[in-house]
């Protein structure tokens, strides 16, 4: 069985960090791959490293000769590219977040249906064995009636971004790492929660700290995100019969009512999850499998995030406002 011809669009940091190691484990996919980046030298370098078939600067050149495409571009390009690829009958595996709004997700899902192609999303954390086991335990009632979820995810932003795209468009940590957490919470709770409160530190730019409060079926979820400082990077799910606690990056284990639970030891790193996703993508294109995470699956998280931005209020930051004391009132009045 020969591998389908795939394109990898966007040869930046995501490709380097996750897809290159995964593709090295799947040489049959890598060797027929077409790598694409507006920066020709980047595309060429990646082609050589992977032994890929070709390197190009514009994905539109190959729309008629590929079966599927991995979209690893800056966030704002996910939706238009997914739509265009789908309209040309190309299956899509898109990095998170996929879209800005539920309406965009709906449009992408509809395009997939209309043109008979699958649209998948890399929501890596849904593949974590620990996250899957937590979901099963919640669904099986291991904690009884759920009461609350707390999730903290934060570290100084250190992504080796090749461009300032992360800081354009007014969507920051909530849209970037927050989409992982919001998606997990929606997935664990089995629906789209209402937004009770949302505050962040954006003062005209992209937020770096965000606090989200959601509610679904009387379960309240508090999420704290940061691009500036390291947080506890952990979650706690409390029910009437006990709690589940885990580390945000612990994909193999967690604690159930104080007892350590081991979900899996088989995967060693993020590249293993991407390899699983790649296999799934190839199988889905071949009609042998269902998508692990489809575009429709991430709709609740995208809808929640969009609603958060609509309700955005400024976090209380007294340490920030202290600068006003540095200047005489006359100067402040002059500059407004």
């Amino acid at each position: 069985m020969s591998a389908p011809t795939l394109a990898l669009i966007g040869c930046g940091a995501v490709a380097e960090a996750f897809y290159v190691p995964a593709l090295r484990k799947r040489p049959e996919v890598a060797h027929s791959l077409i790598v694409i980046d507006p920066d020709r030298s980047r595309a060429q370098a990646l082609r050589e490293r992977l032994g890929a078939a070709a390197a190009l600067t514009d994905y539109r050149e190959v729309l008629h000769r590929i079966s599927g495409a991995m979209v690893l571009t800056p966030h704002h390009l996910h939706c238009p590219m997914a739509l265009e690829l789908a309209r040309h009958g190309v299956a899509v595996l898109c990095e998170k977040p996929l879209a800005d709004s539920a309406a965009e997700v709906d449009a992408i899902v509809a395009a997939g249906h209309t043109h008979g192609v699958p649209i998948m999303v890399n929501q890596t954390r849904r593949l974590f064995p620990a996250a899957r086991e937590v979901r099963r335990l919640i669904a099986d009632g291991a904690l009884g009636k759920l009461r609350e979820i707390r999730f903290e995810l934060g570290a100084p932003f250190d992504w080796p971004a090749a461009t300032p795209a992360y800081f354009r468009g007014g969507r920051g940590v909530l849209f970037d790492t927050g989409v992982h957490v919001v998606d997990l919470v929606c997935w664990w709770l089995g629906g789209e929660p209402e937004v009770l409160d949302y505050a962040d530190d954006s003062r005209g730019g992209t937020e770096a700290v965000a606090r989200v409060r959601l509610r679904l079926h009387d379960v309240v979820a508090d999420i704290h995100l940061s691009w500036l400082t390291k947080l506890r990077n952990a979650y706690r799910i409390v029910g009437e019969r006990g709690a589940i606690e885990g580390g945000a990056y612990e994909w193999a284990s967690f604690q159930l009512k104080g007892r350590k639970m081991r979900a899996s030891r088989s995967w060693q790193g993020y590249e293993d999850f991407v390899a699983v996703l790649l296999d799934n993508f190839v199988d889905v294109i071949g009609g042998r499998s269902e998508p692990l995470v489809s575009a429709a699956d991430v709709r609740p998280a995208i809808a929640v995030i969009d609603e958060c931005y609509r309700r955005r209020r400024l976090l209380d930051e007294p340490w920030h406002d202290a600068w006003q004391g540095l200047f005489p009132e006359a100067r402040l009045a002059a500059h407004g």
Binding site: P160, Y166, P318, W323
Partner: protein, 354 residues
């Protein structure tokens, strides 16, 4: 029309705060200079113009300074002394070529070495063998050479800068204070703690931008009071709402410090040589992870020999010249500053849950 100002090191503690204040105060069109995009998250909250610029690269500097009227140099380019000095020289040469109206160069009181008593700007440089201070001396020399060619530059020498986002004198001590016992006996911390709150330093920078001074003139920038180190530790501890300091017995504290010195050096040397292998073990073994975290916390919480020397030294860096010439007016004493710092530490996850 707003003046266009380029701030180097805008991803860092002082540069980022300067960008925030200049932007919010108005009257400035701020260009936030970062070496790597990944450091821009803090200033990007304000929607200011971002510019990627490695100040060691003359072409990148020339591009960044296009249309710029003012420059503030906050960047410390890595641990390599050559980069601190070369980066400063290239930036100052670029500023001279661009014909900017004013440059403020951030130096440090470390250029005086380890003095005692009252220190004013006329005090000569002192080489100590410490990379940071010695490199800053060389950087100042490079600045002075360009000042002699007509570059309108003012040098500021801040003392120990503290406040939100401050790694060395804020976060590190907040973390240590939460780990008992406290390894700095009061008797060993009676030296002078020359702290300046980051907003006061920003005020001094803005004053320097707006004041005509002789090219290359240098000014100490200190806070409004001169507490002892023990005063600072106690005040920060109280602001964080922690129980009173549980001082270790002086003998036990000294022994712990002495035992930790070889561990510190061995850990540093091992990490330098075998970092990839150690990180691989860290990723794969929970036991190793726990051990390494505990060891790192122990090393971090134990003061080193240089710190102990500083805790006992009585020295005061005078800001009188800055107050006289720049109309610098420090207003954040510990009682003003620490509640702000504590609020930030609390909101940012630095306080352990009770």
């Amino acid at each position: 029309m707003a003046e266009r100002i380029f701030v180097t090191g805008a991803g860092g503690f002082i540069g980022a705060r300067l960008v925030e204040v200049l932007h919010c105060a108005g009257g400035w069109q701020v260009v936030a200079g970062v070496r790597r995009w990944s450091t821009a998250a803090r200033v990007a909250r304000f929607g200011v113009e971002l510019a990627q610029c490695d100040i060691r690269n003359p072409d990148q500097v020339a591009r960044a300074l296009s249309g710029v009227t003012h420059v503030v140099h906050c960047a410390v380019t890595g641990d390599d002394p050559a980069t601190i000095v070369d980066g400063t020289r290239v930036l100052m040469e670029g500023a001279l070529k661009a014909g900017v109206k004013k440059v403020v160069h951030l130096s440090t009181v470390d250029v005086y070495g380890r003095p005692e008593g009252e220190v004013v700007e006329e005090r000569p440089y002192a080489i100590t063998g410490r990379v940071y201070g010695d490199s800053k001396i060389e950087a100042e020399a490079a600045v002075q050479a360009l000042a002699a060619q007509g570059l309108p530059v003012t040098i500021l020498r801040p003392t120990l800068v503290h406040g939100p986002f401050g790694a060395t004198f804020t976060i590190a001590y907040a973390q240590r204070l939460q780990s008992a016992p406290w390894l700095v006996p009061a008797s060993a911390a009676q030296g002078t703690c020359n702290l300046v709150y980051v907003d006061d330093l920003v005020g001094a920078i803005i004053a320097a931008l707006e004041t005509r001074t002789a090219p290359g003139d240098a000014f100490n920038v200190n806070g409004p009071e001169r507490p002892t180190w023990d005063d600072y530790f106690q005040a920060l501890n109280a602001a964080l709402g922690l129980p009173p300091l549980a001082y270790a017995q002086p003998g036990k504290a000294r022994l712990t410090q002495q035992l930790m010195e070889p561990v510190r050096y061995a850990a540093k040397a091992t990490l330098k040589r075998l970092k990839p292998q150690i990180m691989a073990v860290y990723q794969r073994s929970e036991l190793a992870r726990r051990f390494m975290k505990a060891a790192e916390a122990r090393v971090r919480n134990t003061p080193n020999a240089n710190e102990l020397e500083a805790f006992g030294r009585r020295v005061s860096f005078s800001s009188a010249k800055a107050e006289r010439v720049l109309a610098y007016r420090p207003r954040f004493d510990l009682s003003e500053a620490l509640p702000l710092t504590a609020a930030w530490l609390r909101a940012s996850g630095f306080l352990l849950a009770p």
